[in-house]
C-alpha cells in the first residue's frame, strides 16, 4: 500500500463517546479460532490488552499464560500474559499479518498497544477530524 494510508472514522463506544476504535481479527492457537475484536488504539499501552474471556476464545489454556502485575491509571492490577503469540490482522487489510502476545485482564476493555499493532503500522490519530490513519511500517 502506498500513499497517505487508509483512514477510518472514530466510532462511538457504549457510552456514546467517539474514539479511535479499530477492528482486528486474531487467529488463535488453532487456525480455526479466528476472533474479531474491537479495541481502542492506545499509544499509552505498551502491549495489547484484552478481556480475559478472550483467552479461551483464542485457545489459550492456563499453561499458556503467565501471571503478571500491571500498572494503570487506577493503580496496579493482576493480569495474565500469553506465552505464545497469536497472529492478527486489521480487518480490511488481511495481507499484513503481525504477532500479538496479549495481556489478558479482568476488564471488558480491549486496547491495541505499541509492541504489536504499532510495530506493524504507523498510526496517526486526528482528534480534529475524528479519524485514524494507518500506514504499513
Amino acid at each position: 500500500m502506498e500513499g497517505p494510508g487508509l483512514s477510518a472514522p472514530y466510532r462511538p463506544g457504549p457510552d456514546g463517546q467517539f474514539r479511535p476504535y479499530l477492528l482486528l481479527t486474531l487467529i488463535g492457537l488453532k487456525p480455526d479460532q479466528e476472533v474479531e475484536i474491537v479495541g481502542l488504539v492506545d499509544t499509552g499501552a505498551d502491549r495489547s490488552v484484552l478481556p480475559i474471556d478472550y483467552a479461551e476464545e483464542l485457545g489459550y489454556t492456563v499453561d499458556d499464560l503467565a501471571p503478571v502485575d500491571v500498572s494503570q491509571v487506577e493503580g496496579t492490577a493482576s493480569a495474565w500474559v500469553a506465552k505464545k503469540p497469536c497472529e492478527a490482522f486489521v480487518d480490511g487489510l488481511p495481507e499484513i499479518k503481525f504477532k500479538i502476545e496479549p495481556l489478558f485482564v479482568a476488564s471488558l476493555n480491549a486496547l491495541w498497544g505499541r509492541t504489536d499493532l504499532m510495530m506493524a503500522f504507523t498510526i496517526a490519530v486526528s482528534e480534529k477530524s475524528r479519524e485514524l490513519t494507518l500506514q504499513p511500517s
Binding site: G5, P14, L23, D42, A45, R47, S71, A110
Partner: protein, 72 residues
C-alpha cells in the same frame, strides 16, 4: 491508494458496528447478529452456551467505562 481501497477498508472496519444502543448492556458480553443484540451474559462462555446464540454471531464485551492507560 485507490478510493476503492479506502471504501472497502471503511466497510470492513464497520462490520461489527452495533445498530442499537449498547448502554443497557454495560458490564456484559453481547451477541450481535446484523448489528442487533440477540443475547447477553456476564461471560463470553455463558453467552456462547445460550441456545439462541449462533456460532456466526459476533461476541463482544460492553465495557462499563472508558479504558484506562495501561503501562504494563
Amino acid at each position: 491508494m485507490a478510493a476503492q481501497d479506502q471504501e472497502s477498508f471503511r466497510r470492513a472496519q464497520a462490520k461489527l458496528d452495533p445498530k442499537e444502543d449498547l448502554a443497557p448492556y454495560m458490564g456484559k458480553w453481547v451477541a450481535l447478529r446484523n448489528g442487533k443484540v440477540v443475547a447477553s451474559d456476564l461471560s463470553a462462555k455463558g453467552l456462547r452456551s445460550q441456545p439462541k446464540v449462533r456460532p456466526t454471531d459476533a461476541i463482544i464485551p460492553v465495557p462499563r467505562s472508558r479504558a484506562g492507560y495501561f503501562v504494563a
